[in-house]
Subunit: 147 residues, 2 copies
Amino acid sequence: MSSDAARLRALDRVYELVVLLGEDMGGDLERLGLTPARAHALMVVAEQGPCTQRVLADALGVTARNVTGLVDALVTTGFVTREAHPADRRAVLVSLTAHGAATVARMTEQKAGLAAQLFAGMPERRFAAFDQGLADILAVIHRELGH
Amino acid sequence: MSSDAARLRALDRVYELVVLLGEDMGGDLERLGLTPARAHALMVVAEQGPCTQRVLADALGVTARNVTGLVDALVTTGFVTREAHPADRRAVLVSLTAHGAATVARMTEQKAGLAAQLFAGMPERRFAAFDQGLADILAVIHRELGH
DNA sequence: TATTGTTATACTCTATAACTATA
DNA sequence: TATAGTTATAGAGTATAACAATA
């Protein structure tokens, strides 16, 4: 049975990981001319294809007002365009520009590179246990923390 | 050898964990009347004991100006006090109020509770491998990502 | 009437720069 | 001259509320 102290130490390691990964990603995004919130919005557009701001707001879990600001910034910096919605004149369609698509491709590469780097030296058995441990924890959260 | 796809999936699980833990903690802090930035500052004061804003700024990795704002808010909401520094009339000492100390105690309990809950159902062997996997990844980051 | 997106306003966290008081 | 902290200003992300155009 793992001790309470050991569990607390493990959670502290998770927090440290969060901080360090956040710093690393933040630096990468800054080099690409993006902030975390804008990058998130950009990834949603890439995954869903051209979509309305309403869809974007729901996917990001933020208000419509906020999406207006994020899309404004992404348009100004050349990552996406606003186009008329063909069937609903109230709505707009947000689409990737060529630069936006290229940037998404780079982010995807960087993420794969990070994953390879992080786990490169980990023995296969430990990786499997680590991965399963992650799944266990996520299951607990989904079951008990109301997500 | 774990595949690139498996590693990418594991990293995605880490990201999901970050998001869910962040939401959970954010909710707890809000119930305590704190924001994440203020809670972080409060924890530093709790760990270091009464300290100057300069010390706080260095520990948090933010500017002195930012600390002024955070301490303003923590004073207004009753978590800390500003007192004269006995030896340096330029500086102030930030100290916990009784309410601040009680809140730190509650945060500490909540963190321990979360750690216990997250790992409660995990077999001992898997916990050990998971914990070692975390240490491995942190070592990689410290070694290769310039931290 | 309900929905899409905007403008108006405000709060939090963050930064740089200029300044005051003190060391 | 250097340091501690503040005021001034700015930008990013977030929110609510009121409103316009359209469904």
